[in-house]
Amino acid sequence: MSAIRPFRCFDTRVIVVSLAVAAWLVVSAWVSRVLGADSALRVLLALSQAGALAALVFVIRGSIIRLDELARQIHYQALAVVAAMLVTAIAGWAFLVRAGLPPIDWSTYAAPVFVLAWAAGVILIARKFE
């Protein structure tokens, strides 16, 4: 038995950056509420939120690239499956909304669902190689 540790990429650096991005998203969302709806500063804050998320993706990508090739392969497979499933779920739900089901605010749920499904995917795919 040989346990693969694909989560090694989530090192201190990634965790610190993730927490910093999360803190910025919370603070900027709070500041954004105080500002007027058409405020230019609110647009800037929204852009900075998107930029912070992009920076986080970039840092995580760099960390995955430094893994050894099997662990990297596991992440790539999990990401591909989860991305395809999430796109299918969002598109599929749109059909159901047209049929009368309540709409889901994917802008709120897509990121956490993606992260949880990615983690589950990594665990399941890693078992294939043990």
Partner: protein
């Protein structure tokens, strides 16, 4: 894909950890290759061949059909 990495390693009295260190990968990757659950990338296959002074096709071959 079949391979003879385990045989080549044990003949040299190397542990999986030793081989992993020489190849710059994790021991888990070596184990997955030896148990034929993972086919290495071409660069890693070439590295393995170079380490054992063999050609890639002398170490790796197609799995038996059926």
């Amino acid at each position: 894909m079949k391979n003879s990495v385990r045989e080549l390693r044990t003949v040299r009295n190397w542990s999986q950890g030793d081989l992993a260190e020489k190849l710059g990968v994790s021991r888990q990757t070596v184990n997955a290759i030896e148990t034929e659950k993972y086919d290495p990338s071409l660069p890693l296959a070439l590295k393995i061949a170079r380490l054992f002074s063999l050609r890639v096709e002398e170490i790796f071959g197609p799995a038996k059909q059926g």
